[in-house]
């Protein structure tokens, strides 16, 4: 910039500069802006020049434009320093592979100093997408047309309206035609003619997608100076009516959404707490290292992911998650057994000492992981089948990762229930927890059952870590954020009852999600805790109190 100012300080240079600026100004108004000139504008350092160039390229309709703009959209468009040619560059190690953005013809390699990136930001990307979707409306390929129409709703403009009218005339597919009508109607809301805007509103009265909602409600809003965006009061009235209609229809869906969110939060609480329901619920060990077992499970997932990335072909990568489940189960199960054999078995019947010892273990594990893997977060990628989600009428989004976690949590709980009910180990576990001496007298090796039970609880915590790595972050502190919630769920649900854990987790999740929009996240959490305190005072044994002899000690 400084150099620039220096230029201005010299009158002669200013004169030269003005001359230079005048030349393109004369050429600009004529329609004869060539593709090359417009394309060169993309490399300008000024934002408005680049925006202008994108719009011009859209208006020219040159067949070379989509490739060029597509490359720019992906941030792969560069200017080659040697000849100012615009090239598509992909990073390959320390060098870049160049190709022509329009034809794909290879242009050899270049170093990072030989090319300059064409900067693109959100606004420019939006403009490019609008231009590309306008071009794609006339594509031969049905899928591309469909995508183009979907995008068109998000980029309403008068040019878009023109293109849509043309595209509608050529379209045969009935569904697509209907979608085009909607897209056209949103663009019509920008028309200068009030009657056209009203006609647009008519068409839109049945839709609730967020883009449409946004466009319609804009008509009822005022700008910073208090002026209405929509000058015609008639149009405003119709828009307000449509908005009120939408509100009622959306309210129902919103409650469905809240319920889903509550169940999703509940399933996270559930999966985090199931392991503790074993170690604390069944065995009575106040296991402060439970959170760290979850954390170890998450790090096992990370390690499996890295191994997949390094040693297996990329198209198998999405399988890393199912493989991580048994790995995490084994790793944390073994750590759990070691913990029980090494420390906890000496402390049975001394809850305070157990609490302190396991808390110490949790600190040791945290710092150990921090030393081995480093303090920063580790990235665990969601496999493709767990990214994204689907929308219900533009109001509620059900995300895949959370749906999978809900199903997974229920599956883990069911498997555990079956194991306790139908296997020999399950029988022995129940026997030992109900009456240790008697079980021992019947020939059950209580020590073995103890470490297997603790190992199982830890292993399930590890499996929870696999699931939670898909939702949150993987860091040495991961466990701390779940330990309190886990205890809360187990105590609230009733110590020793799997049903209690399930109901406790789900009801806490749903209560939380219905409170949060009203009270805010911070106050919502406090209210839930207060609720639990009061509840525990009324029913100290939780929702599902164990009855019989076991409950008495």
């Amino acid at each position: 910039m400084r150099h620039f100012y220096n230029y201005f300080s010299r009158p002669a240079s200013v004169f030269l500069l003005l001359l230079a600026m005048a030349a393109p100004l004369q050429a600009a108004p004529s329609e004869a802006v060539s593709f090359e000139t417009a394309a060169a504008g993309l490399a300008s350092s000024s934002y408005s020049d680049r925006m202008e160039a994108i719009k011009t390229l859209g208006a020219l309709g040159d067949p070379r434009a989509p490739g060029l703009l597509g490359s720019m959209l992906e941030s792969r468009l560069y200017r080659r320093v040697s000849d100012d040619r615009l090239v598509d560059a992909r990073r390959e190690g320390s060098a870049y592979l160049l190709s022509d953005p329009s034809t794909g013809e290879s242009l050899g390699e270049a170093g990072s100093r030989d090319i300059r990136k064409i900067m693109v930001n959100n606004s420019l990307r939006g403009a490019i997408r609008a231009v590309l979707s306008r071009m794609d409306l006339f594509s031969e390929d049905l899928e591309r047309r469909r995508a183009a129409v979907e995008a068109a709703t998000g980029y309403p403009s008068n040019e878009m309206a023109g293109s849509l009218v043309q595209a509608l005339a050529n379209e045969d597919d009935a569904d697509l035609k209907a979608a085009m009508e909607i897209a056209l109607a949103t663009s019509r809301l920008l028309s200068t003619d009030a009657a056209t805007r009203l006609a647009g509103l008519e068409t839109l009265s049945e839709t609730t997608s967020s883009e449409v909602r946004s466009m319609v409600s804009r008509l009822t809003e005022t700008d910073a100076d208090g002026e209405f965006y929509e000058p015609d009061p008639r149009v405003r009235g119709v828009a307000a009516g449509i908005m009120a209609n939408m509100e009622t229809r959306m309210r129902m869906l919103e409650n469905v959404g809240k319920l889903y969110q509550g169940l999703s939060l509940g399933s996270v609480l559930l999966i985090a707490a199931v392991g503790l329901a074993i170690t604390f619920g069944v065995m009575g060990v106040i296991n402060m290292a439970h959170g760290e077992m979850i954390m170890l499970g998450a790090y096992s997932t990370f390690v499996v992911q890295e191994l997949f990335r390094d040693y297996l072909p990329a198209d198998l990568f999405y399988l890393y998650l199912p493989v991580a489940v048994p790995v995490a189960f084994l790793v944390t199960g073994l750590v759990g057994i070691a913990l029980e054999r090494g420390i906890i078995r000496f402390l049975y019947g001394r809850p305070l000492e157990t609490l302190l010892a396991t808390w110490g273990v949790s600190l040791v594990l945290q710092q150990a992981v921090r030393t081995v893997f480093g303090a920063p977060n580790r990235a665990v990628e969601n496999p493709f089948w767990m990214t994204g989600g689907f929308e219900l009428a533009g109001v509620v989004t059900l995300t895949w990762n959370r749906l999978v976690v809900i199903a997974f949590a229920l599956a883990v709980l069911a498997a555990l229930g079956l194991l306790l009910r139908y296997t020999a180990l399950g029988l022995q576990m129940r026997a030992v927890t109900q009456n240790r001496e008697m079980a021992s007298a019947m020939g059950i090796k209580t020590g073995r059952v103890d470490y297997l039970t603790f190992g199982l609880g830890s292993a399930i915590a590890g499996v929870a870590g696999v699931a939670l790595s898909q939702i949150g972050n993987v860091s040495p502190n991961l466990g701390q954020s779940y330990i309190i919630d886990s205890f809360m769920v187990v105590v609230f649900g009733g110590v020793g009852s799997l049903w209690g854990t399930l109901t406790g987790a789900m009801s806490l999740g749903v209560i939380n999600k219905f409170l949060e929009p009203v009270a805010g996240a911070v106050l919502g959490k406090i209210l839930v805790l207060v609720f639990i305190i009061i509840f525990i005072q009324r029913r100290p044994r939780g929702l599902f109190a164990m009855s019989g002899r076991a409950a008495e000690d």
Partner: protein, 427 residues
């Protein structure tokens, strides 16, 4: 058993002897001691360990170039373990017992507030490298991170402009503590001044480590579908960011629909997230790793060599420590002494060519003049710099947008000699 104990005792004794010997060897009278007060364990270790390593790298570099005033520089590292009261204790230990000449440290505002009385009481010197809420100027602290007018205000102005997408509605999302609350107070005042209506601002806070963002993200989505271009300003701190961004991506919020600009998310935080669905979301800082300058190239090279890992990234607070350390070393040379009062006087006006490619200057309000940059997240976890200031911007210690602060002046030079005065002390 007995012999075991003996061996153990002997070994312990030997260790102590070695330790004492090493200690006394290191404590040669003529080393200059630099205290490093960053959490190496606990929740904040995630960010602060990197800063500890940055200071160690700077010290290494200084020593290999002949040290300072002909003396060797020695690091004294302590671990305040993300525990705020412990920060104060460790700070006292550094200044009083270890007799360090300067301290580089702290991340959270609450840790800084906790050590502030200690440094003021003992006349120590602290370099604080993180962007923060402003509204402070201590005689014993040099703030090398951004004040709100070097980060938050330009970020919002950018998003308001055509280039940033002409946002008219604002969601202010933050973690519930002093930095987000104060920053949002300043931002709200600023937005109101720009004509944004009260109903077009949504402010929302979450607890530390918040992991369930479903409700908030869907509310943001709804808020944004009410007719005006909406942008989210995020002062969400630490671990809560990963689940937040995951939820954003999964609910299909793209940066072109609702851009999210963050003040606490940098390269280091992104290295824990898969960014392919976050392309275009923004951050505002005074430095990005992607800056194209020879200083930055050298900085990155030195860092990756020091940490022996060519995948490690650099970030803004690291750059702030780089600037702070260089300035302190220059000031010590100029003063010819490590005496706190002498160094402080020499600090004013110190200039360093920073990795951001600009000459940054220390002002008499103990804050820097730095450039402001806005970056968009790329698919490889870096930032594309889409906007930057032409010149450096001088930090306001006190925000002009908060009426009671607007009256205050921070200026530690004559005739003010004050961090929060309405009129000069000596006139």
């Amino acid at each position: 058993m007995f012999s075991y104990k003996k061996v153990a005792l002997l070994a312990a004794g030997a260790l102590i002897c070695v330790g004492v010997a090493a200690g006394s060897a290191q404590a040669k009278k003529d080393t200059i001691k630099v205290g490093v007060l960053h959490s190496l364990s606990g929740t904040m270790a995630i960010s602060e360990v990197t800063l500890k390593d940055t200071v160690l790298m700077m010290i290494d570099d200084l020593n290999s170039n002949g040290g300072l005033l002909g003396r060797e520089v020695e690091a004294v590292v302590v671990d305040p373990a993300s525990d705020w009261p412990l920060f104060a204790e460790k700070a006292r230990e550094l200044v009083e017992q270890k007799k360090v000449d300067v301290v580089f440290g702290c991340w959270t505002s609450v840790s800084r507030k906790s050590v502030l009385p200690v440094f003021e009481e003992l006349n120590g010197l602290l370099f604080y490298p993180v962007q923060y809420e402003g509204e402070e100027s201590s005689r014993n602290v040099f703030y090398t991170g951004a004040a709100p007018n070097q980060q938050a205000i330009p970020a919002v102005e950018y998003l308001m402009g055509e280039e940033g997408g002409s946002a008219e509605r604002w969601v202010l999302l933050g973690t519930d503590y002093v930095y987000p609350r104060t920053t949002n107070k300043i931002l709200r005042a600023f937005l109101r001044k720009k004509g944004v209506k009260q109903s077009d601002i949504m402010e929302e806070y979450t607890p530390f480590g918040h992991s369930d963002w479903q409700t908030i993200v869907s509310r943001v989505k709804k808020f944004a579908s009410e007719g005006k271009r909406t942008a989210v300003v995020s002062t969400i701190n630490g671990d809560a960011n990963v689940p937040f961004y995951k939820e954003l991506a999964n609910q299909g919020i793209s940066a072109e629909d609702i851009p999210v600009i963050a003040f606490s998310v940098g390269e280091e935080e992104l290295s824990g997230i898969d960014t392919s669905n976050l392309v275009g979301h923004l951050a505002s800082w005074n430095y990005f790793m992607s800056v194209d300058s020879p200083e930055n190239e050298a900085f990155i090279k030195d860092w990756q060599k020091f940490i022996k890992n060519d995948k490690r990234v650099t970030n803004d607070p690291m750059e702030a420590h780089y600037i702070g350390f260089k300035m302190w070393a220059q000031a010590v040379r100029q003063a010819g002494s490590t005496d706190v009062d002498a160094v402080r006087q020499a600090m004013y006006g110190q200039e360093v060519r920073s990795p951001s490619g600009y000459d940054v200057v220390m002002n008499t309000n103990h804050h820097l003049s730095k450039p402001v940059m806005i970056g968009e997240i790329t698919s490889d976890g870096q930032f594309d710099i889409v906007w930057q200031t032409d010149e450096t911007i001088k930090a306001d210690a006190w925000s002009p947008f908060i009426p009671e602060s607007a009256k205050l002046t921070a200026d530690w030079s004559y005739p003010w000699v004050c961090g929060n005065c309405v009129k000069p002390k000596f006139n």
